[in-house]
Every structure is written in C-alpha cells, then in structure tokens.
C-alpha cells in the first residue's frame, strides 16, 4: 500500500468517525415499485412497512436517504444497492 493511499485511508477513517455518511437512492423510470421495496428489505433489512415508505419517498420525491453511518459501511450498502440496479450513492451528512 503506498504512503499516499495510507494517508488517504487515515484521513478517510478519521472523517468517517466524525461525519456520518448517508446512502441515498434516486428515482428511475425503469425499476418496478415492488422490486425496489423487495430490494430494501433484502439489502437493508427493512420490514415491509419501512421498505414501502422509503420506496414511496423515492418515487414521489425523487430520492430517499436509506441509511446513515460510517463511510465504509455506507460504501458497502451503496455498492450492494447498485448491484441490484438501484441508482445509489453516498454523501456526507449535512
């Protein structure tokens, strides 16, 4: 691992402890509502009610923050949602 990467990893770790990161899911015109609900249940462990709430938020408002926490975990969730073809990214908590 290069020094530059090591430094970056240290600053990333420090940042991730101090600043929670959010996982955001954006709306798209292709994915079925039932599919998005199921994905939230499978990947984020939501029960049906909570999954449906976030799905409707994505559908009606264009986006939903589905998770918040440490950066490394946020990245993992975002990538998992992308595996399921949901448009997802991470951002720092405001």
């Amino acid at each position: 691992m290069s020094r530059q990467t090591s430094t970056k990893k240290k600053s990333t770790s420090k940042t991730s402890i101090e600043t929670p990161w959010q996982v955001v899911v954006l709306n798209d015109s292709v994915n079925l509502m039932s599919y998005v609900t199921m994905v939230f249940q499978k990947t984020l462990g939501f029960d049906k009610t909570r999954a449906t709430k976030h799905m409707l938020e994505v559908h009606e408002k264009g986006r939903s923050v589905v998770w918040s926490g440490q950066r490394e975990h946020a990245e993992l969730y975002a990538q998992t949602l992308q595996q399921w073809q949901l448009n997802s990214f991470i951002q720092k908590n405001a």
Partner: protein, 154 residues
Amino acid sequence: MPNIFFKIDPSLLPILIEYIYFVSCQFEENLAIDIQFPDNDPELSESWKQSLLADLQYDSQNLLSLMSDESFGQTPVTLEISFAEAISRACSAIRHKLRYDFLKKINDNDLESGDMDLTKLPNDLIKPYTCFVFLASLQEAVVESIEAELDFSK
C-alpha cells in the same frame, strides 16, 4: 423456494432471447445504470466498476440459462432463492439498457403503463418494447415469490 409459472408463446422466445443476449454482451464493459463512485480515486472507481460488472454478467447469464431451458414458459419453475434474486436483478439491468438504448423515443408514462398498442409502434420499437414488458412481468412474478419467502421466514 420461489416457484413461478410463466406461460409464453414459444415463437416469442427466440426474439426475447436475441435481445437479452445482445444487451448482455454489452455487460462485458458497460454497466446497466449510471454509477456515482464514492471517490475521485480512479483505481477505486475501476475496482468498484469491475466488481459490479462481474455481478451483472453473472446475473444476465443466469437469466439466459433460465430462458434457454426448453421447459421455460411451458411448465412451473422452482427457483433456488439466490438464483431467483439473480433473475430479478438481471431483469432490472436489461430493462434499463433496453430503455436507454432502444426505447428513448417512448416517454416514461407510456413505458410505465406497459400496455402500449403494438400496432401503433414504429417497427423498430416493437421487439425491444415487447422484451421490456416481458421482463417486467417476469420480474414481478419472481419478486412476488421472493417476498413470499421473506414473509415465510419471519
């Protein structure tokens, strides 16, 4: 295990498989959706992309193997849960590619309705639209089965 039954006109299958195979080949290098990588680190972004591509290729191969089975569309199919999940992801991915590569001329509302009159579509849109709608139906059936398993396991 998820159990789905799909009845399909056998004459339609080659057309559907043709489009699904064509789109799947693009997954050698291209993702189905636009991805925002978490960093401006090119190495991390490339590694992230390659991981997603590998999953995408795996999922689409599973869909093709399902649809290439001679009993598909004629008899009920019992799917192992992880296979069912792969099928549902593949349906989403291929529908995204169909939407943005072939069906750009159709607006979102008409596409979401899923009941456009095929006789009124331009010739070049009939087959990809049929594939798009078919995959939505297949995905709905698979999702219903997966959800039943989720409810059962609680």
